[in-house]
Symmetry: C2
DNA sequence: CCACTTATCTTGAATCAGTCAAGATTTCAC
DNA sequence: GTGAAATCTTGACTGATTCAAGATAAGTGG
């Protein structure tokens, strides 16, 4: 993934290629599961003067078109990743909040068929596994 | 579920039986999936002078002991329910935010076995189905 | 290559759910 | 009934996210 790749991604979804968006894309790609503050910091190493608002806007826009995906586990602020469209899920550490990717056990679009969805038209199943990360379980308390 | 039942529930988990807690338990039981503000309002119909802080405290405490469960779908504030311990999940309407219960398709503790959990010790799998509720899909836009 | 339209960005203020803290009350065990 | 400790009230505060207005820059057509 290089600068031109990100530019192409933006063009492919008919979005204007702006420096803030490139910086955000690159930042999220380099720091999967980073929260907004970290994305802002990372983006600023590439483009020192980006406003936090531009980052928020970019993240929203990129999320809408599907170039980034946002996850908001309960008790955590929003986090972002560029791995999209492959229906993977996440393990979240209850203790330190760290996140790892998990391919679903049941194959593709798992659990997507709810037994009784009360007439809802379901288009996505989001799974969050809660537990303890290796680091936190080794260091008791 | 009557007042004495709620009192007993509190005693069973060694919590003091206070009027705010009873009001909150009853409110959540009567309004499944209600957000905090609604719980406060409902609790105040039973106990007019409860402080919002007491409701927050009660919700936290009751959640810790497992008498209520909290859900926080992305983009929504915290919501609460008294149906606990049966590993059910939720469908959330992207359009209006309404929530319905869903028993998991795969049986009990579904999907709980992630294929590769990166060394995490997983103790719970939370599933959120995203879609459109009957009302919103009938009324286009 | 230039001008124009409009999306996007900057700046700075505002919102709002949720939290913190100190002192007053209430619960429950004895 | 009494006392210790948990719980509640009051009121201020935090911090992630959003709103709004004007400035700037991307892409289009000439």
């Amino acid at each position: 993934m290089t600068q031109p790749d990100f530019q192409q991604q933006l063009r492919d979804v008919a979005l204007r290629v702006t420096r803030p968006r490139l910086a955000v894309l690159e930042a999220v790609h380099a720091h999967p599961h980073a929260d907004t503050e970290s994305v802002i910091a990372a983006a600023r190493t590439l483009l020192p003067e980006v406003s936090h608002q531009a980052v928020y806007d970019s993240l929203h826009t990129l999320t809408e078109v599907g170039l980034v995906r946002s996850i908001k586990p309960a008790g955590s602020v929003a986090r972002y990743e560029t791995r999209t469209g492959d229906n993977h899920h996440h393990v979240v550490c209850r203790s330190c909040g760290s996140i790892a990717d998990v391919d679903c056990a049941v194959g593709h679009t798992p659990c997507l068929t709810a037994s009784d969805s009360h007439g809802f038209v379901v288009d996505e199943a989001e799974v969050i596994y809660w537990g303890t990360c290796p680091e936190c379980s080794h260091r008791p308390q």
